[in-house]
């Protein structure tokens, strides 16, 4: 004796947030039922099984609509109140920070998708959920790739995502497009949110969109002209006088404000060379990929070994940036500001004491 068929269809589609989350997390119906019983919603397995299967079916039917969230609002098949629609979309596009950390900066290709089972076992995120998240990244990437206009705005419009989530997706798309290296051992201490913040900085300041907002791919690619101009900053380290002058200006300004002044003084040339070299190399796509690893190796690690505090780093970078403007022979003020603004905020975000 068995239930052959069992359906429940409401005029307003009934969706249980809890079951939706279980579905998104990739649990099978049976696992979901077990979890729900443990959660204490109800004891009767049969009732829960029937309910869970119904909900899973509903979600599966909704899934193709969720791929194009705008369709969810004007489709006729399901009558879903607007707040529910928003919830469905938001949760469908939500992702695990652990998971995204693994694929951040990787090419969103079939090859990467094949490796998802490794990612799954590494992060503890179920494979099904990994696939969904990966496909979301890929879908968003594909859509915005072809669109003009600001990246975050496009994502928000097309996928009806809340602001924060749209920004996160912008970061993911940006990282995937520029293939930033994030998986090196030295970078593992950084969270997705650290990277997302940096991506936001880069998008807002270093892309074409930052100057001209109706260009194609404007937010996805870095501003080539700007990268070219960055080469000019080299003078800061190649000109011996300038370097010394810069150093003394910074050290004078820092005197009495920090406990690690000596270390700063000793390291100044090294650090300055590091930052300026990063700038000069950004014109090569290969070096763009190593941007974060370079920041860590050339700046963050030396500071950390000298036990600088975040406050120290902040002070140092502020004066380092400002002092350059006082140098008589240094002419590239706007490029310097544009560069150092991003570098400073990225480093501060990435500097975990």
């Amino acid at each position: 004796m068995s239930v052959e068929l069992d359906v429940f269809v409401g005029n307003t589609t009934i969706m249980d947030k809890e079951v939706y989350q279980l579905w998104l997390n990739g649990y099978t119906v049976n696992d979901a039922v077990t979890l729900r019983i443990e959660g204490g919603v109800m004891e009767e397995c049969e009732v829960l099984l029937s309910d869970t299967m119904d909900q899973y079916r509903t979600f599966q039917m909704c899934e193709r609509l969720l791929h194009h969230p705008a369709k969810l609002a004007n489709q006729l098949l399901f009558q879903i109140p607007p707040d529910r629609q928003a919830m469905l979309i938001e949760r469908y596009y939500a992702f695990d920070d652990l998971f995204v950390r693994e694929v951040l900066g990787k090419k969103l290709s079939k090859g990467t998708k094949k490796d998802l089972d490794d990612v799954s076992s590494k992060t503890g995120v179920m494979l099904k959920s990994c696939r969904r998240q990966f496909d979301n990244f890929k879908r968003v990437f594909k859509v915005v790739e072809e669109l003009k206009g600001p990246l975050v705005e496009n994502i928000r419009q097309h996928f009806l995502l809340p602001d924060q989530l749209a920004r996160d997706y912008a970061a993911i798309v940006f990282f995937a497009n520029n293939r930033f290296e994030t998986g090196k051992k030295k970078l593992l201490y950084l969270t997705f949110q650290d990277f997302a913040f940096c991506a936001g900085q880069l998008i807002n300041n270093w892309t074409l969109g930052a100057v001209d907002n109706m260009m194609e791919d404007m937010d996805v690619d870095l501003d080539k002209e700007f990268l070219q101009d960055l080469k000019d900053l080299k003078i800061l380290i190649t000109d011996k006088d300038l370097l010394d002058q810069h150093k003394s200006l910074v050290c004078t300004a820092l005197r009495g404000k920090t406990n690690v002044l000596n270390e700063m003084e000793a390291n100044f040339k090294n650090l300055s060379r590091g930052l300026v070299n990063i700038a000069a190399k950004l014109i090569n796509a290969k070096d763009v990929r190593d941007f974060f690893i370079d920041l860590v190796e050339k700046f963050i690690e030396p500071c950390r070994s000298d036990k600088w505090t975040s406050v120290d780093v902040n002070l140092y970078l502020t004066h380092y940036t400002n002092s350059a403007h006082i140098l008589d022979t240094f002419k590239h003020h706007s490029v310097w500001t544009r560069y150092m603004g991003v570098i400073k905020s990225c480093i501060l975000k990435m500097y975990h004491e």
């Binding site: 069992d6 309910d51 004007n74 489709q75 607007p82 529910r84 705005e153 419009q157 602001d163």
Partner: protein, 1042 residues
């Protein structure tokens, strides 16, 4: 008489990809009516084509207008091979033929394919110009209104209830024609869908003609059914109650101008009736508006005086009486008129004094006798001549005659809550009919007018009159125990009352009601032909007897004494019979308190056995006590006095008159009472009886916060909130174990129903406190060893404490908010739409006096800009501007996948449905809590077939049916929205035939749904609108749910 049908194809969206190479579609549309076909241009390479066609005009007879659907086919153009069909839309244009219903069909309708389901949507505009005066429609029956609602529709008043109308048409089923062997499943399904559309149209037209003959203008309680008789054909039959209805104007000053509707000329008899059950059904205390409604009835007092002067003059009564008259009339006025016009003789003259209505204007229903039912087993044979469906007619005639004679035996002259149904298995067909014997107001008529007044005024307040026995006390047609009415103490009442109608609104009840189900399964030997029919008809009486016993016991167990909405369904399969009786139990204050249930053993010598029995007795007593508490049944203590009953054994109780007949016309009547035994005593003489008692006690109690009923009104609950959730649930159960005993089968079946209920309660837990209304199960045996149970019902939440409302409101509100999170649609759309509809008091009168004018269309467009569709709301919500708002707006337009601006301008007169989806509420009830129905747009009667050859890929049988039901809902909602409505009331799924062949990976399902498309407005808005028409537009509806 001709009319001109005009159709315009505007656009399509979400079309499927038909050309794999380009991932696009070259779509065009064929518009077909009758034999005429028009085509649009091909709109190349788009999934969102903009045809914006010319108006296609069909000049046709109105007979065709009634019969034929408008058929829209969307195709993909292919230069080299045949064009591929994407899907079809059938549009029933009947609502456009009636001046008081819809005027235009306009909106996005799903494109449906019987193999692939919904494949995108198409935006169409359909209008009808009729070239003649409404009054001359008699040749066809355009203009007759149809309602599924089984009470007088909310915005109408019954001028006269004429009585029973029935019709059936038969045809060959295309699925069984020889040609079906060579055509594709799609072609076959479409032929079937189209045929049923045609047959329904024809049936409706023929019924309309009968109504016109009777002098009516509407059919209420219209019930249309299909009998899929397989090889022998396809029968579409319908019954209904012919009425003369008159639109109620909400404003007394303009009440029913003589010129406003054609039916006024047909009125031969005085007004009777009220707003119908509307008053008590709607929640809360009477609003000012309702008071207005009352006063608008008062003029009829003068009317009744006229008619009382001479009964023979009735037909000449001038119409002018309606509009005149003061406002001082008493409620009794129209009722008196009612009494007079409904003479007993008039009823007796009728062939069938049957009424499909289940609730009536106050005062119409005088006494209830009890349930009458008749069944007959027939052998199907091929219908040879579709034009003369005489055999089927004769079968039903037989049954109706039987019902009529039972009614007489109960001392009654009418049957109310009448319905008919069939169950078919192979070539055997069980025809069933049931109703409630009643005496209608004619009895007042025979008394003197003075006494009438006297009795009327004295008796209505107690609300017990309908319980008083209609039959002669000294000549009781069956054994019964009579007592004096517990309310008035003057007339006699039976100890229990079973009826098929809704609880009369004026009834006095104690506590709350609850759903009571009796379930039964009986095995049967496989047999063929005559022998099979014989075996079934031999089983039927036992089935009914046991169902009745179960019902009675369960009723007692709940401490109640009456059943309303009783529906007994018997399904026949090859190896078993299923019986399911559902009803709403209630404690009628007028009836005596039911006694307990006593268990007695047969072998009292054994001590352990006795202990066992006393344990059981204790359990039963506990259950009764607990139920009384749950349902708040604490009637005033009454000293029971049994008055002399002429029957030697006084403790007999059965109202159920039944009989069954076999093809041989043999009619046997069975006394369903329990012989010489006391019905209260359950004798345990074998293990079966023990099982029975266990079964009785294993009905799991409804969880806290839930109530359930199968009627329109939940006895004892009135304070509904506006959160409603309609749902359909279907379960199919496979009995793998072939050698099940009756008892085992019973248990399986009962568990199936109980589990389904449990699931429903669990699913709807967020609505608590709530009541599942209209919880009617439909059982079927689609195949050997399969049991199918389907239910369509509505969950409505209510405020727990009406009296403590002020104090507890805040607490309740916060609780409710959580529920509403799921179900609320805080859309301004509806609020705006509705308030604009009412914003000018003139709006409504215009509708009345110039039927063709769409009154508030101007107001709509003024709201066009403010129309906030879901999609825009969502966008706004996710809107934090990074780089300036101007830029954002422009990119919004660009990013939008739809030409919103354009579609909106096309639909400016209906802005509320905008470019995105308007909310359409659905309910199996005739009302929407907290809302007022302001317009009926016409009947929705849709038939769909869905078939698949890739069952696994579509998620198995459950996935397949889940999608299909969701699609049916979507299509109903879309058609209602296109008619301009925002709800479907009296919705029902009358047919859900599911067949599967998992081995071939195939399944097929047929669904037939019906209901009334309406426009409703929230009551709070009505009040606001009438007080401050200007500010009404800013009102937001704060408690909307679906």
């Amino acid at each position: 008489m001709p009319g001109k049908l005009k159709a315009k194809i505007v656009a399509g969206r979400h079309l499927p990809v038909m050309d794999r190479a380009s991932d696009l579609t070259d779509a065009f549309v064929e518009v077909k009516f009758g034999n005429v076909t028009f085509k649009t241009d091909v709109y190349p390479k788009s999934l969102n084509p903009q045809w914006n066609s010319e108006w296609f005009k069909f000049e046709v007879d109105d007979e065709d207008l009634q019969d034929e659907p408008l058929q829209i086919t969307v195709l993909d153009h292919d230069t080299y091979s045949a064009n591929d069909a994407i899907g079809k839309v059938y549009i029933d244009i009947d609502p456009l033929l009636c001046s008081e219903a819809a005027t235009v069909i306009s909106g996005w309708l799903p494109i449906y394919d019987t193999i692939h389901g919904i494949r995108g949507e198409i935006n169409v505009l359909v209008k009808v110009d009729l070239f003649n005066d409404l009054n001359r429609f008699r040749q066809s029956s355009c203009g007759v209104k149809f309602f599924c609602t089984t009470s007088i529709p909310r915005c109408y008043r019954a001028v006269m209830i004429h009585g029973f109308v029935e019709e059936l048409v038969v045809n060959e089923d295309p699925e069984y024609q020889w040609i079906d062997r060579i055509r594709t499943p799609r072609a076959s399904n479409e032929a079937r869908q189209r045929l049923i559309f045609l047959m329904s149209g024809e049936l409706q037209r023929k019924i309309g003609l009968k109504v016109l003959e009777m002098g009516g203008n509407a059919v209420v309680g219209y019930l249309q059914c299909f009998d899929l008789e397989g090889e022998s054909g396809l029968v579409v039959r319908a019954i209904g109650t012919a009425c003369t209805l008159e639109k109620i104007s909400t404003l007394p000053a303009t009440a029913t101008l003589p010129s406003n509707s054609s039916p006024s000329k047909d009125i031969k008899e005085p007004v009777f009736g009220e707003e119908g059950p509307g008053v008590p059904l709607s929640s809360g205390p009477p609003t000012p508006l309702r008071a207005q409604t009352f006063s608008s009835f008062s003029p009829s007092k003068s009317y009744s005086r006229q008619s009382s002067s001479s009964d023979t003059e009735l037909s000449l009564t001038p119409k002018t009486g309606m509009g005149s008259g003061g406002s001082a009339g008493k409620e009794a006025g129209p009722l008196k008129a009612l009494l007079r016009q409904q003479t007993q003789s008039a009823l007796e003259q009728r062939e069938y004094p049957f009424f499909t209505l289940t609730s009536f204007p106050p005062g119409f229903l005088l006494h209830l006798g009890g349930v009458v039912s008749a069944r007959s087993v027939k052998l199907l044979d091929r219908i040879h001549n579709p034009d003369e469906p005489e055999t089927r007619d004769a079968w039903w005639e037989e049954i109706r005659q039987e019902i009529k004679s039972h009614t007489k035996a109960l001392g009654c002259h009418a049957v109310v809550g009448y319905s008919e149904s069939t169950s078919i298995c192979e070539e055997v067909c069980i025809l069933s009919a049931s109703g409630t014997a009643a005496i209608l107001s004619s009895r007042f008529m025979q008394d003197g007018p003075l006494e009438t007044d006297h009795r009327f005024e004295e008796m209505v307040p107690p609300g017990c009159e309908f319980c008083h026995i209609p039959y002669d006390e000294l000549n009781i047609p069956f054994p019964a125990q009579l007592t004096y009415c517990c309310c008035c103490r003057r007339y006699k009442v039976p100890d229990v009352l079973f009826t098929t109608i809704d609880l009369p609104t004026e009834a006095n009840i104690t506590g709350k009601g609850c759903l009571i189900q009796a379930r039964l399964c009986r095995t049967k030997k496989k047999a063929q032909g005559e022998g099979n029919a014989m075996a079934i008809s031999n089983l039927l009486p036992f089935l009914e007897y046991e169902l009745h016993t179960q019902l009675m016991n369960k009723l007692k167990l709940r401490g109640m004494n009456a059943l309303f909405g009783l529906r007994i369904q018997i399904s026949v399969g090859e190896t078993m019979l299923l019986g399911l009786a559902s009803a709403t139990g209630v404690y009628l204050t007028a009836l005596p308190s039911p006694g307990g249930i006593q268990v007695s053993g047969k072998t009292p010598s054994d001590i352990t056995y006795e202990q066992h029995i006393s344990n059981m007795q204790k359990k039963i007593n506990d259950t009764i006590a607990k139920n009384k508490e749950v349902y708040e049944i604490n009637p005033p203590e009454v000293v029971e006095e049994i008055i002399g009953s002429p029957i030697p054994e006084p403790r007999q109780r059965s109202r159920l008159f039944r009989s069954h007949s076999e093809s041989s016309d043999e009619v046997s009547e069975i006394d369903l009472s329990h012989g010489k035994k006391d019905a209260f005593v359950l004798e345990i003489d074998d293990t079966d009886a023990v099982e029975d008692i266990h079964a009785l006690l294993t009905d799991s109690p409804t969880p806290a916060g839930f109530y359930s009923c199968n009627t329109e009104i939940m006895p004892g609950i009135q304070n509904w909130t506006s959160a409603i959730q309609m749902f359909t649930s279907v379960r199919v159960f496979r009995l793998n174990n072939v050698n099940l005993t009756n008892q085992g089968l019973n248990k399986v079946f009962s568990d199936l129903c109980e589990n389904l209920l449990k699931s429903l309660y669990f699913k709807l837990r967020s609505l608590v406190p709530c009541c599942l209304c209209h919880l009617n199960f439909t059982v079927a045996i689609p195949e050997d060893e399969l049991i199918q149970v389907a239910v369509t019902a509505v969950a409505m939440s209510f405020d727990k404490e009406l009296t403590l409302e002020n104090g507890k409101q805040s607490g309740d509100k916060s609780l409710k908010k959580e529920n509403d999170e799921q179900l609320q649609f805080n859309l301004e759309l509806n609020a705006e739409m509705s308030s604009s509809n009412l914003s000018s008091p003139k709006g409504l009168t215009e509708v009345g006096s110039h039927p063709s004018a769409k009154a508030p269309s101007v107001d709509y467009s003024s709201f066009a800009d403010r129309c906030s569709s879901w999609i825009e709301q969502l966008r706004l919500k996710a809107h934090t501007i990074r780089r300036g708002s101007v830029k954002t707006t422009s990119s919004l337009e660009k990013a939008s996948p739809l030409p919103e601006g354009r579609s909106r301008s096309l639909r400016s007169n209906r802005s509320y449905s905008g470019s995105s989806v308007a909310v359409v509420r659905m309910t199996p009830l005739s009302f929407i809590p907290g809302a007022k129905i302001i317009k009926y747009l016409g009947i929705i009667n849709m038939f769909f077939i869905r078939e698949t050859t890739s069952l696994k890929e579509e998620g198995g049988v459950s996935g397949f049916l889940h999608t299909f039901i969701a699609e049916v809902f979507a299509m109903v909602r879309a058609h209602v929205a296109a008619l301009g409505g925002n709800a479907v009331v009296s919705y029902s799924m009358k047919e859900c035939v599911f067949m599967e062949n998992p081995n071939k990976n195939q399944a097929q399902c047929l669904i037939n749904v019906s209901g009334d498309a309406v426009i409703f407005v929230r009551e709070s808005e009505v009040e606001a609108a009438s007080v401050h028409p200007q500010s009404a537009a800013t009102q937001t509806s704060n408690g909307e749910g679906t």
